[in-house]
């Protein structure tokens, strides 16, 4: 997968919040094989330099940091947080989240497009957290985004891929845009499913962080993502309605 000119080997991106400890987070990142981790500037640290010690631990993991604007509810908040993240992490990458509703954490797609345009114009490489709406996706690409991150289900629910049809059309509509399923993944089978649909990667956090054994779960996700990717490349069979015996019936001995 190539995003913003960078080749990425691993199809699994991990969030860094809610782990029992930074040491377990580090072990989970290693077990997942992830090359990119997201870090929340706002929610973890109140949006200033006070989180430096935690960020240093993440930097020591030797992975690429994708800072995010989690918890931002307006264009202004998101843009300010992105600018702060660029300084703190010395990267032009930003995972853009503009939340529109507190109960579902549904993205506010109107503000998202606006913030994406402002940030792209300002030289950012924007990874927008969006819904599976195709028109919004078009607008985000017009605004300068070169990757799209539709939700599988609302953040933290672990419900998996809520709208498989929508995700499939998105893949069909944008065959050349890197697409990453972000949010809602609860189980490795959900991640495998996203990869089988042809998505380029999955991004998840709670499913690993809140597992009883986050390191083991990280390794389970790595295997699932690999399985889904292989299955996609192997060109799966078409599903059909009628049974089709794998052994021919014709010529079976008739013992009557």
């Amino acid at each position: 997968m190539q995003v913003y000119g960078v080749d990425i080997g691993s199809r699994l991106l991990l969030g860094t919040a809610q782990y029992p400890s930074p040491a377990i987070l580090g072990d989970a990142v290693r077990a997942s094989g992830a090359e990119i981790v997201t870090v929340s500037l706002r929610r973890e640290s109140g949006g200033n330099q006070h989180g430096q010690a935690f960020w240093n631990l993440i930097r020591d993991m030797g992975v690429r940091v994708l800072p995010n604007t989690a918890g931002c509810h307006s264009v202004k908040e998101a843009v300010t947080t992105a600018q702060m993240a660029r300084e703190v992490f010395d990267t032009s990458w930003i995972k853009l989240e503009v939340i529109g509703d507190n109960d579902t954490l549904c993205p506010n797609v109107l503000d998202l497009v606006q913030a994406a345009r402002l940030l792209s114009d300002d030289g950012f490489d924007v990874f927008p957290y969006t819904t599976d709406d195709l028109v919004v996706a078009e607008r985000l690409l017009e605004a300068g985004c070169r990757v799209l991150m539709p939700w599988g289900a609302p953040i933290g629910t672990g419900l998996g891929l809520n709208n498989v049809y929508g995700l499939r059309s998105m893949r069909a509509h944008f065959p050349d845009v890197p697409l990453i399923v972000d949010a809602g993944i609860g189980l490795p089978s959900h991640a495998a499913h996203a990869m089988e649909l042809g998505f380029d990667a999955v991004l998840l956090n709670t499913a690993v962080a809140k597992a009883g054994d986050p390191v083991m779960m990280a390794s389970a996700f790595a295997k699932a993502v690999e399985a889904g990717t292989l299955a996609r490349s192997a060109d799966p069979m078409e599903a059909r309605d009628m049974a089709s015996p794998s052994t021919p019936v014709l010529g079976k001995a008739s013992l009557g």
Partner: protein, 336 residues
């Protein structure tokens, strides 16, 4: 053996108590003017809840924390051994099942049994987890009691005193300065915590109530006379500033979810400080020359201080001895 303990928080005073009990000549210094808002222990919840902590903490916390109740009972009055309760709002009922799976020494009780334990929670929750072997203390009273005990044994506690200004009488220094010791413990970090004290009319609990929350565990600890400590947020920030609006809203929402009468409560006190933590959130003992560092008690100060004090006293008594939490650099362990 002469020992100077630097830091008069819960770690320092439990170590001084333990060393004094074993016959060492101890003195304690602290740069603060007294026990108060400059000391992390001031903001503690005082829950002695090793099994509940097992939800997120690693095994040593659960095991070593079990030493705490007996130790505190032996050294301070008013250890309240009524257990603790865990509840979840109905929309987070799955969280209660998860918590039950990942912890031990509890039993599931229904609404009726809950009302017998805590009459003011009648009709509030359909289910709860009861950890009957857990306990709680008022941390400020406990620290006062340790100070009195030490004074009675002629262990001096000098406030407004730092190591630089103090002629060290001890041949060994035990450094328990918490986050302030980052000047020498480079892998120590601060994790911000925020708390409130509420005064509510007409509600009484006999034990801590922990409300499961998607981001952090929030608990209400009864402090008597209608006072309740509500804590605590857990934020990866080294910010000793004041409580944030978000922190306050989250804590108040949790209190309100436990009982709507908290909406009418007075906010008596707010607090924020940073907990000292190593990357695995477990405490460490570490020798630097003749100085023994005891640090990184994270959110488990009152729970783990007795075990840390025992290990510190062992390490000082026999210099070749290596207690389990002792090592040079924990990063070797976590990466291995």
């Amino acid at each position: 053996m002469n020992v100077t303990v630097v830091g008069a928080g819960v770690a320092g005073l439990t170590i001084a108590t333990e060393l004094n009990r074993r016959g060492c000549k101890v003195d304690v210094i602290d740069r603060a003017p007294g026990f108060g808002r400059d000391t992390c222990s001031w903001y503690a919840g005082g829950m002695l809840a090793p099994w509940c902590e097992g939800d997120t903490a690693e095994e040593p916390v659960v095991r070593l924390g079990q030493e705490a109740i007996g130790w505190w009972r032996q050294h301070v009055p008013d250890v309240i051994e009524n257990g603790s309760l865990v509840v979840a709002p109905s929309r987070d009922a799955g969280e209660l099942a998860r918590f039950a799976r990942r912890t031990e020494a509890h039993r599931t009780i229904d609404a009726e049994q809950l009302a017998e334990l805590e009459p003011d929670l009648q009709g509030r929750f359909r289910q709860a987890l009861f950890f009957d072997a857990e306990a709680h203390i008022d941390p400020r009273k406990a620290i006062a009691a340790l100070r009195e005990n030490l004074a009675a044994s002629d262990v001096a506690i000098a406030y407004n005193t730092s190591l630089e200004s103090h002629a060290v009488s001890g041949s060994i220094v035990v450094d328990t300065r918490g986050f302030a010791a980052r000047d020498v413990l480079k892998d120590l970090r601060g994790v911000k915590g925020e708390m409130l004290v509420l005064k509510a009319e007409g509600i009484e609990f006999s034990r801590p109530i922990r409300l499961l929350h998607p981001r952090w565990p929030v608990y209400l600890v009864p402090r008597g006379n209608g006072h309740f400590m509500v804590g605590a947020t857990q934020i990866e920030a080294e910010d000793r500033g004041r409580i944030t609006a978000r922190g306050m809203v989250d804590l108040l929402n949790a209190a309100y979810a436990v009982h709507p009468a908290f909406a009418e409560a007075e906010i008596v006190e707010t607090g924020a400080d940073v907990r000292p933590a190593f990357p695995d959130n477990l405490p460490r003992l570490r020798w630097h020359g003749r100085t023994l560092h005891v640090n990184g008690l994270f959110r488990h100060g009152f729970l783990l201080a007795p075990a840390c004090a025992r290990m510190a006293a062992d390490a000082i008594a026999s210099p070749g001895h290596k207690p389990e939490l002792m090592d040079e650099d924990h990063r070797e362990r976590s990466i291995a």
